[in-house]
Each structure stands twice: as structure tokens, then as C-alpha cells.
Symmetry: C2
Subunit: 408 residues, 2 copies
DNA sequence: TCATCTTTTAAAATATTTTTTAAAAGTATT
DNA sequence: AATACTTTTAAAAAATATTTTAAAAGATGA
């Protein structure tokens, strides 16, 4: 059950004519979604539909309640134009971000406003209908609370870790129990379409639509938390590879003489760079007597996790910063390979480690200076995400809009 | 001067209507180019233009001489359909492949038939108008010989090594003297449009349109000759990166403890794998007394180059094969990185070393088994190109058709 | 072998879209 | 404040495409 943009009930005429009209409606709505606000004349220019026809289509959409009159704009030398915008409350989009231990549900209106955001910690992911039942319950709670019926939901976007066949809405790693595929399964339970994809890719989409990748053509989005994920945007599009396996950046070869990775191979990037490795190295150092802010917690028998290490770094803990620097050098080596192969405009660092800001960006940049061909690497910006924890969630919204409105 | 698909003289009406008609003509011609042969009914199905209109447009195109009646097709249960095809001799495409020491000029008709192919050895590339004057002369010779006027040339495609801004037709590495950009410069001299791009990318386009990448979505095309080039097809499209630098596969890091590369960095793939390295290693071995078919030539004071090494390998020379095996292992390591990042459907080995066939494919596959995650690498086929020396040339044809007919 | 069913093409009727023309509502300038 | 100039919108006229209907040509099966 893929989402569609349709007003079938309202339109008469033959099949072909209806389709054409639908396409014209979609063009107009999608343009208004992107610009927020436009006059008839601007729509004409963009849509290449004639002015009288645009006027009549906009009229229809006003009648349906899809569009709103948005006052009168500034003139540039003549009659002041009437402006139109999408009715933000005409429909809503549900965004769901499933993580191993945390569930986040968001509700967006058609002006991309976050109406509601609910985060459920210790909502442990398990492969059972019990889990999806709870999930569906939580989603319905959010909708009920805002008094939104299923027919008012344009579609739901879902971000989930692991292997995904996005086209058919099938998850191979988690929630695999549903025979018809996770997307269809949830869709049936919920009563509206569900669009899903892998978390790293959703983060990339989020950055492309609402973050620092906006307007960029070729961007790589790193998800640096306990492990390493990579979402790839090439030629303005999300790239997934033949089977949706693209982006296994954590398992490219960095050190042929290195340790064995959990994947079985020797010297993968993830044996040298990841939140887990950082935490391990910090713990080992402290056990060996290294001075650090984290010593006290350790002495109290608390286990130190990534959250604490990041906090220590941001508090200027020299030892933790040293460990991050070491790690970032390897990360830089890995990124050099990406840059040489893909010549991206920008690399965005996201995930928990992005919260260290300059503490990770600066050593990565240093590593690029050292290991990359300058001609190529000087074309690539390296920045931290500013979407904090919401990149994937925003990505689900963008994914829904892409499907429904076929935004570029 | 970008190529356009136009029959302006023949069409009346207002600007907008003319444009629409042009677009409809283009749709039909492009469909016939791809299928070779189709009935009105098939065009209707594909173009989503109504049957009476398609009939009238095809009529126009027959009148212009663009299309030909191609007899009557097989019925599938009713009246036998009239078939139409592009008039192969309506226009021609010139394809030019510039290499450092060799120039190849080809002439194609609109059915992709190679009408003429001229190869000029020792046609050394130099950055001067003298070179382009000679080039233009050779092209005109070929056209004159076949009695083809400039107006009968749809456009010319050009493949050239080095850095290229394909969009604006500017070459940054070779033939940089022309102020208006190489494409425009040649265009003015020749009297028809010129479309140009980098040689590795043209090889990839050639494979996509006419070689083993046909119908595939994500394919990597290696150009293995003296150096290493990589042409990348992702989501069915050629990928160039932000500045057209994408595909610097030869300079990804393989061995942090390795030799210094000519690019300045340590341990690049090209310090371990390339035609040059293979030739060097073979020569060194023979100097040290290694038995080989190549010993005789060496003793006679002839310098052994890549062509000879490839021949020796194909004759079963054990030493040369050993050296190739060693090299292929490194190449495999590099390809693992590509596979993990991009999850391609297929990797095509082209260039001079592709002529060793199984001698290179088998050890590369072995290396993939060893170094790559099976789940991902088992999805990727590794094959040798079967376009021999013409991949880039065929790519220029495809590039022209892409520009003019906007083939998928 | 004839009647029925398909598919393809053509022509007439209908519907839609665009172009043209003009009016309305502003701005800028003298 | 009046005039000239723009831009935006609306309505009528013209052009264009689509649907419907029908005819032509061949396939299939009793």
C-alpha cells in the first residue's frame, strides 16, 4: 500500500483526463509544498500550464480544502498578486524512528511543523507482533490525542535499522515476522500507507530536506554512534545499491595488519573507529590509571558508556579528547577513500558523536589534509549535523513527501 | 553549443505549441531509437499520447524523412500492424576517442552501425590549435569520404582523458588552450555540436548502452591499462561527483605501509596495481634471471611493454601470470571497498588488461571471496568487457544520443 | 469455410487547453 | 494628481488533443 496523491472522488471525466488532472494538481501542490507560498503567476511559470487552467485548478484545490488563500503579496510593478499556500491542517504525516531501545513517534503537519513528538525509552525492539501491536497503539494514542482520524493521515514514514527493501517495504533484519512485509502489515493495522527505509538513509534524507545537505547534489551522511552508518545522496537522490546494502562504510579495509572485525574480516574501519571502540579505549586507559573526569564514575563501579564519554569530551577532558583524536585519524583515512571515489560536496557527521562538534570535525579535517589528494578533498566540506537526534525522523517526513508529491 | 532535437522549420504554431510538438516528436523518435522498430499502437502505449495524435505525428516524421516505413509486423490476433523505424541515414553521429598517442574517429548512423572507423597511431596529443586543426581535418576527411555534409551530422561525441567539466564542455587537463572551452571551440570549427566527457566515463556509458552493463542499474567499469580509471553508473546514470573528479579509484589507500605514489600519497592502489606496475615487476623479475617467454625479447634489447606482457599471459607464460595474480589480489582488495560502499550489480573490467580474460577475472574473484563480506559481494558479478578497444567510442555515441534524445 | 473475436487504424464528435484580448489593480514618474 | 507603465487575473476565441465510434485486416475455432 504505497501512498498516492489523489482526489478521485472530486474529479469527473474519462480515465486519461482524470490522470492528467491529478498530475496537474500534484504539480501545483508539490510546488507550493516546496515554496510555501506562491501566486498564480509563479505557479504558471513553474508548472508550464497555462494561466487560465492554473487559475481553475487552484480554484478546485481551494474548494477541496487542500489550499488556502494566503493574503496578498508584494507587487513588483503592477497589481498585487493573491498568494496561496497548502492548508497545513488538511492532512498530517506520522514519522516513526525505531531504534534498538528507543521508539520515537512524531506528528507533522503539511508545513513540516512538528505537532507532537513522543520518545519512549526502553522500548526494546523485538521480532514479534506484540511489539508492533504496542507500536500501533502508541501511534493511535498520538493521533487520538490530537483528534486526527486515519483519513487525515497522508502517510506514515518509518526509519528502522538493518537491511531494508524500501521499494516493497520489507525489513530483513528486524520485525521480519510479517509475511506480507512490514510496510504492508503496519499499513493494514493502521489504515494508512507506510513508507519505510533504513535509518542511515533516513538520516541522509533528513539532512537533504531540512539539514545542511539542503540544495546540495552529492552528500555523504555519517551516522557515528556505537557503530558506523552511511547514507549516500548522489545526483540529488538517495543511493541504495543493488540490494539496499550500499553504505557499509564500517567494513572497508583500512589496516591489512589490523584486528579481526565482528564481520569476520581483518582491519575493517569499525575495528578502529566507532563509538564502541572509543568507549572501550577510554575504559582501558582509565583502568590502566589514566587521569580523566571519568575516573570517578569508574571508581564508583558505574560502567562508562558513549553518552558519558561525549559529555567528558565536551567538558574538555584531555584523555577522552586524545582518544577521539586517534579515532578520528582512522575515520579520516576512511573518508579519504570516499572522497576519492565519489568527489562529494559535503560530508555531514551525525549520530551521537556529532555532539562533540569541533572535537571530531577538526581532527577529521586534519586527516583529510594529510591523506587525501588536495585537488579533490579541498572541494569537500566536512560539517556536523545540526538536526541533533531528529535527522532520521525528519527523513521519514521527507521520504513520505517524496513518495506522495514526488518532490524532485 | 549543445545538441538539440529540432525540426523547427517544419512546424507552425505558437511557441508553446511548437515546444510541445517538439517534445512529442522527441518522445517518438527516442522510443524508436531504443526499440528499433514499433507500431503506432506500441508508441501510443509507451508515449501516453492518444492514438490519432501519434498517427499524425508519425506521419509528419515520415514526411521529414526522420522515420521510415518498416513493413508489416506479426499480428497477435488481429490486423497486422504497420511498423516504423528511424531512417538510419537521416543523420549521422561522429565519435572521437582521443588518447595520448592514438586518435580514433568513428562514424555511426542512427541505427548505431559503425559506418567507418579510422585509427591514427602516433597521433600525439599536444595542447595546441595545431593539434585540433589536424583533428578537424581528419574528421572532415571521414565525412567527405562518405559524402556527409555538416547538416547531416546530428552531433559529435568526444572522449578524452583527464579532468572534464562535461556540462560546459571544458577540458582542464588536455587541450586547454581554447578560451571558450574545447567543446565550443571544436563546435565552431566543425559546424555541429560537440559533446565531450572523460574517457573512463565514456567507457562506462559504452558498456551501459552496448556492453555488459546493458539493462543494469549500478555498475562499475574499470579501465585497466597503464593506469587505473573508473567509470561509475549509479541509479542508471553516469556519476561524476561535484567537480567531475569522481572515480579516482587508483588513489584509494590500500597499504598504509606501502610505497609513495606519484600523486604524493602513501600506499595508493596504483602503487600496487596497474599496467605500469605489472610491466615493471615483469621486467625486474626477468632481469633477476626469471624464466619467461619474454626473456628473448629482453635479451635482444627490446623494451617490454604492456602489450607484450598481455600477449605472454595469454600464451600461458607462468611468470607473467604469477605477476598478474599478485597484482589482482591488490586490485581485489580495492574492489572490496567499492563493493562495500556501493553494492553494485556488476563490475566490468575493461582496458588493455581486460584482454587477459580469465587470467585477471579469476584471481580478482578469489580476492573478493577472501576480503569481502559474502552477503554483499555475492551480489556482484565480475566480468571482462567484450567491447575490446571500442568501449569509449561507443560511449561517445551513447552520450550524444543521451543529450539529443534524452534517452532514459 | 464461415462466423466470431482481436488488433490496428481512421474519422467524427467531444472535451480540454492555450492563445488572444481586455480589464483590474497596482507602481513610478512628472 | 494625472499619466504611463507593470503585473495579475478574467473571459472569449481559437487551437489542439482525446474519446468515441466505426471500419479494415487478420486470427481462431467449430
Amino acid at each position: 500500500m504505497r501512498p498516492e496523491f489523489k482526489y478521485e472522488k472530486e474529479i469527473a471525466g474519462t480515465a486519461n483526463a482524470r490522470n492528467r488532472k491529478q498530475e496537474q494538481y500534484r504539480k501545483i501542490v508539490s510546488f507550493l509544498y516546496e515554496t510555501g507560498n506562491a501566486s498564480i503567476a509563479e505557479i504558471v511559470k513553474h508548472s508550464k500550464i497555462s494561466q487560465p487552467l492554473v487559475a481553475s485548478l487552484v480554484d478546485d484545490l481551494l474548494g477541496f480544502g487542500v489550499l488556502l488563500d494566503n493574503g496578498i503579496g508584494e507587487s513588483i510593478g503592477g497589481r498585487r498578486p493573491n498568494l496561496y499556500c497548502i492548508n497545513p491542517a488538511y492532512q498530517y504525516v506520522v514519522g516513526v524512528d525505531i531504534n534498538l531501545h528507543t521508539l520515537t513517534i512524531a506528528l507533522f503537519d503539511l508545513s513540516n511543523q512538528l505537532i507532537r513528538r513522543e520518545e519512549y525509552k526502553n522500548f526494546d525492539l523485538e521480532n514479534s507482533s506484540a511489539y508492533t501491536d504496542k507500536l500501533v497503539g502508541k501511534i493511535n494514542d498520538v493521533l487520538n490525542e490530537k483528534n486526527i482520524s486515519t483519513s487525515q493521515v497522508l502517510a506514515m514514514g518509518l526509519s528502522i535499522p538493518g537491511l531494508i527493501d524500501a521499494k516493497n517495504g520489507v525489513s530483513f533484519t528486524h520485525l521480519t515476522f510479517a509475511e506480507q512485509g512490514l510496510g504492508n502489515y503496519l499499513s493494514e493495522k493502521l489504515g494508512f500507507s507506510v513508507v519505510l527505509d533504513n535509518d542511515a538513509r533516513m538520516m541522509a534524507l533528513g539532512e537533504k530536506a531540512f539539514g545542511k545537505a539542503k540544495g546540495k547534489k552529492d552528500v555523504l551522511c555519517l551516522n557515528l554512534s556505537n557503530r558506523i552508518g552511511l547514507g549516500i545522496i548522489l545526483n540529488e537522490q538517495l543511493y541504495s545499491g543493488k540490494n539496499g546494502f550500499a553504505g557499509e562504510f564500517g567494513h572497508i579495509l583500512i589496516d591489512p595488519e589490523g584486528e579481526q572485525c565482528y564481520c569476520g574480516k581483518i582491519g575493517c574501519l569499525e575495528t578502529l573507529t566507532s563509538g564502541e571502540i572509543l568507549v572501550r579505549n577510554v575504559n582501558e586507559g582509565i583502568e590502566k590509571g589514566q587521569a580523566s573526569f571519568l575516573r570517578q564514575a569508574k571508581d564508583e563501579g558505574k560502567s562508562i558508556d558513549l553518552r558519558e564519554v561525549v559529555a567528558a569530551i565536551n567538558n574538555g577532558d584531555q584523555f577522552a579528547i586524545d582518544q577521539l583524536n586517534k579515532m578520528s585519524d582512522y575515520l579520516g583515512k576512511g573518508l579519504v577513500t570516499l572522497i576519492h571515489l565519489l568527489n562529494p560536496e559535503m560530508i555531514i557527521i551525525g549520530g551521537r558523536l556529532a555532539q562533540t562538534g569541533k572535537y571530531i570535525v577538526d581532527p577529521v579535517r586534519m586527516a583529510l589534509n594529510k591523506y587525501a589528494m588536495d585537488r579533490i578533498s579541498s572541494e569537500t566540506e566536512v560539517v556536523c549535523s545540526d538536526l541533533i537526534d531528529d535527522a532520521a525522523l525528519m527523513g521519514t517526513l521527507s521520504n513520505v513527501m517524496k513518495e506522495v508529491l514526488r518532490i524532485s
